[in-house]
């Protein structure tokens, strides 16, 4: 069971990094609006007829 002494810290570290990422994006406002993006995905992307100059 010695492998646990390697695996456990790695697991915790991985877990910690995800939590840290989540905190970061939350504070940047990614989760301020949870409803609109679900609807926005239905809107087709528009391809401009003429390339921009």
């Amino acid at each position: 069971m010695k492998v646990l002494y390697v695996m456990l810290p790695i697991t915790l570290l991985l877990g910690f990094s995800f939590v840290a990422t989540f905190i970061w994006i939350t504070l940047k406002g990614q989760y301020d609006d949870l409803d609109t993006p679900a609807h926005r995905i239905l809107i087709p992307e528009e391809i401009p007829k003429y390339p921009k100059e």
């Binding site: 697991t11 939350t26 504070l27 301020d32 609006d33 949870l34 609109t36 926005r40 239905l42 809107i43």
Partner: protein
């Protein structure tokens, strides 16, 4: 009652409106439910924006769609010009100094689906100078960013043309703080979730029998993982408990904190002494579940809170004032002096109390007094803020402004009533008070009993006492009310009913008497053509041509009616010698014939008119219009404030719930009594000609009264009633006074709301029974000394889960009510 509704719908409505999907009243002869929707449809077609309708089919609607708002006036001038006033920009917009871009937020009435998102954001493509528009659908708030060359006025006008009435949102610290709070809440929840998951992984091996040094290390790791929960995620509970203690009150947070503290202390003590019982996993799960339920509740109430914030976007306080040079200048209301002369155009709301200095017109006072008939004003007469000028421009000299106006005083009195209203002691609070007391008493009894049994060994006595405190920690109990309420509040919001808080549901379930305002609530609140005799195609187009020239509400009603009947503005003949006589009617030459359209009494010789007035007293509540062609009476039109289609079945349904129905109106005795008679409400339950203050006095006398109303004249009554329900109208005042708000007018939604409130209370009671049952089982086990961490770890989530399922399922009646209406 269901059959009543269905038959009503099958006779009155045909297919659904192309634009908004609402039923089309049978009076209309095309595929739109109203003129607003038709205009918007045509606008979208001409702009090549028909993708809107394709998107609409694909997407799911997050709330009930409402018919498009008709743009207020067909004047050339933009009514939203004030948005670009420097003073207004300073208060309502933010400026990015580097790019000189300005940002302003608008609350948009009626956005409800993906197609609305697309349409509002598309606006940046065809209004010059607009950088970007971003819509937050859940909150109905659009953030508009413009370049230094752009104009907020133009974009607001565009929103309004598309059928979404814009209200600028004031930028203040409150919103920023709220946003920050929400983000921190989410972070606390995230940390609690991650930590709980990890601790549980470790706990599983401990439960399945891990022993030896590895078990010790696992316990230590869970301890360190638990620290962020203890010191960060659980902060809201500490705060809540501390607040309650300081206010010398009992709240559900106190037993939660007690459980967390005792559990942590006991687990740490056992960890150090090396004994078996550590409860970190149960405690972590407890905090996580409670945080999650509070987050869900908060999000569900978001919409409701935003509606109450509408006060921030009350109609802007700007008036057109005549200066020394005789020119008109827009000024903030605060700067007005007594004696200043203010111009109010047709269709505008009068911003001050004053005396008419110049001009004659008709005023609509219904929002202030509830009167459905228009009032004629002439120079020298007193007019009040909050009334709407209907016909021709008026010059008014100011006598009172701001809080000194009659409207201001009504508002002030409403605020007082709002503050005075006693907070209800919610059922949940009462139960939790009893519960907390019982738990504390039991813990004490078990401890001292143990002390006696074990002969003074305090360590042995403490163990069952602490186990009792932890296992009876009211996790499920704390979830019982918020989960049930948030699910109902959220589903109500989707159905066009906003509730300003969960406790409103409890109050609504206790309502025994319903007071209904007449104008605008039971009726449409505007003139409609009721009957038309002796018409031909020729007459109709002539009438249309003449009335289209006038701004009078009667003329507008006739034009609206004719448009519904399929008369197109393109085919109407030209008018010569058009003349409008105030308070009488219009005349002019159309296609070689001289037409006069005027009030009935004026078009007839006195004999006939007298015979008419003898036969019925309807002349005061209905307006009779006659059409004369070359001096010959050819057509009779009757107009009046029509009763809503769903008023009769709605009142029926309410009465069948055992509620007492009463009409409370500021309108004349005659008009109110006739409405009451048509709706089958006895005269003893009908109150007419009441001032706003009298209304409030009547409502206060009933202990469990629900007041339903729409105008400023109802605001005081809405605020002083046990529960106030405001109906959609132009007056945001009433929304502020009320506890709940109907997006779509009508009587049937009130019935639905009452059922929802009663059923929600049933769910809450059921949840309490479940959670108390679990707590009793846990408590008995703890006293018997059978509670080990495994028992706690199973019992706690299980009880919470039961309550969650019970809340989501609701009752069968509740599901029925919600599916009935969702489209």
């Amino acid at each position: 009652m269901q059959t009543v509704v269905q038959t009503m719908q099958s006779t009155t409505y045909r297919a659904d409106c192309i634009h908004c999907g609402n039923p089309i009243p049978s009076a209309r002869k095309n595929s739109f439910c109203c003129r607003g929707c038709e205009t918007v449809y045509q606008l979208l077609q001409t702009r090549g924006l028909s993708t809107y309708y394709e998107l609409k089919k694909k997407g799911r609607s997050i709330r009930k769609s409402i018919p498009a708002q008709e743009s207020p006036q067909k004047t050339e001038e933009n009514p939203f010009q004030y948005l670009d006033d420097p003073e207004f920009l300073r208060l309502y917009s933010t400026l990015a100094t580097a790019t000189s871009e300005r940002t302003m937020q608008f609350y948009l009435d009626g956005v409800h689906c993906a197609a609305c998102v697309w349409l509002t954001e598309k606006v940046s493509d065809f209004v010059l100078g607009v950088q970007a528009v971003r819509l937050d659908l859940a909150n109905s708030v659009a953030t508009v960013k413009i370049k230094s060359t752009g104009s907020f006025g133009e974009i607001a006008q565009e929103f309004s043309r598309l059928g979404y009435r814009p209200h600028p949102v004031k930028q203040d610290n409150l919103n920023a703080l709220k946003k920050r709070d929400e983000r921190i809440m989410l972070v606390q929840l995230a940390i609690a979730g991650a930590v709980t998951g990890n601790i549980m992984l470790l706990a599983v091996s401990l439960y399945s029998g891990l022993t030896g040094p590895l078990a010790e290390q696992f316990k230590w790791i869970s301890f360190f993982l638990f620290l962020p929960i203890f010191f960060f995620s659980a902060i809201p509970f500490y705060r809540g408990a501390w607040g309650a203690l300081r206010a010398k009150q009992v709240s559900i947070d106190i037993p939660i904190v007690l459980g967390i503290l005792l559990g942590t202390v006991m687990s740490v003590a056992n960890l150090i002494t090396g004994s078996d019982h550590v409860y970190f996993d149960s405690l972590a799960a407890l905090v996580f579940l409670l945080l999650a339920s509070r987050y869900v509740l908060r999000r569900a109430q978001q919409n409701a809170l935003n509606a109450s914030n509408l006060i921030h976007f009350l109609t802007p306080s700007i008036a057109r004032v005549k200066n020394e040079n005789g020119e008109f200048q827009e000024l903030s209301l605060n700067l007005l002096k007594v004696g200043d002369q203010v111009e109010v155009r047709a269709g505008e709301c009068i911003p001050i109390d004053g005396m008419v200095a110049q001009g004659q017109s008709m005023l609509n006072c219904s929002l202030l007094t509830g009167e459905s008939q228009l009032q004629k004003v002439e120079p020298g007469e007193i007019v009040f803020a909050g009334t709407v000028n209907q016909q021709t421009p008026l010059l008014i000299s100011v006598t009172q402004s701001g809080t000194q106006t009659r409207l201001g005083k009504i508002l002030h009195s409403m605020e007082e009533h709002l503050n005075r209203r006693a907070p209800i002691v919610a059922f949940a609070d009462r139960v939790s008070k009893a519960f907390v007391t019982v738990v504390i008493v039991f813990v004490g009894v078990v401890f001292f009993g143990g002390l006696y049994v074990f002969g003074g060994n305090w360590h042995q006595a403490l163990n069952p006492a602490l186990a009792l405190a932890i296992v009876t920690c009211p996790c499920a109990f704390a979830l019982a009310t918020p989960l049930a309420m948030s699910s109902s509040v959220a589903r109500c919001a989707k159905n066009g009913i906003l509730l300003k808080g969960g406790d409103i549901l409890e109050k609504l379930s206790q309502v025994s008497t319903v007071f209904l305002d007449k104008t605008g609530t039971l009726t449409h609140g505007r003139f409609e053509v009721l009957s038309w005799t002796g018409d031909s195609q020729e007459t109709r187009s002539a009438v249309f041509a003449l009335e289209a020239e006038s701004n009078h509400p009667v003329a507008k009603a006739i034009v609206r009616y004719l448009e519904d009947q399929g008369i197109r503005p393109e085919i109407i003949p030209a008018v010569e010698n058009f003349q409008e006589t105030l308070g009488k009617g219009v005349s002019g030459k159309v296609a070689g014939h001289f037409y006069e359209i005027a009030r009935f009494n004026d078009t007839l010789d006195s004999q006939e008119s007298q015979a008419k007035s003898n036969t019925s007293h309807s002349s005061q509540i209905e307006t009779q219009i006659g059409v004369l062609c070359n001096g010959q009476l050819i057509s009779k039109i009757t107009l009046g404030d029509r009763i809503r289609e769903d008023a009769q079945p709605g009142l029926h349904a309410l009465a069948s719930l055992g509620l007492q129905l009463k009409i409370l109106s500021g309108d004349s005795n005659l008009a109110v009594n006739s409405t009451a008679a048509q709706l089958g409400i006895s005269l003893s339950d009908t109150f007419a000609e009441k001032t706003p203050e009298q209304k409030s006095e009547i409502v206060i006398k009933e202990p469990h009264a629900l007041m339903v109303g729409d105008g400023a004249n109802d605001a005081v009554a809405l605020a002083s009633a046990y529960v106030g329900l405001a109906v959609h109208s132009g007056m945001e005042v009433s929304m502020r006074a009320a506890d709940s708000y109907l997006f779509s007018p009508g009587v049937l939604p009130i019935h639905r709301l009452i059922i929802v409130s009663r059923e929600t209370m049933k769910v809450i009671h059921r949840n309490f029974i479940f959670s108390l049952a679990y707590n009793i089982i846990g408590g008995v086990a703890a006293i018997l000394g059978k509670v080990d961490p495994l028992f706690a770890a199973i019992l706690m989530p299980l009880s919470a889960f039961t309550v969650l399922i019970s809340s989501m399922a609701g009752t069968s009646r509740l599901r029925e009510v919600f599916t009935e209406e969702v489209k």
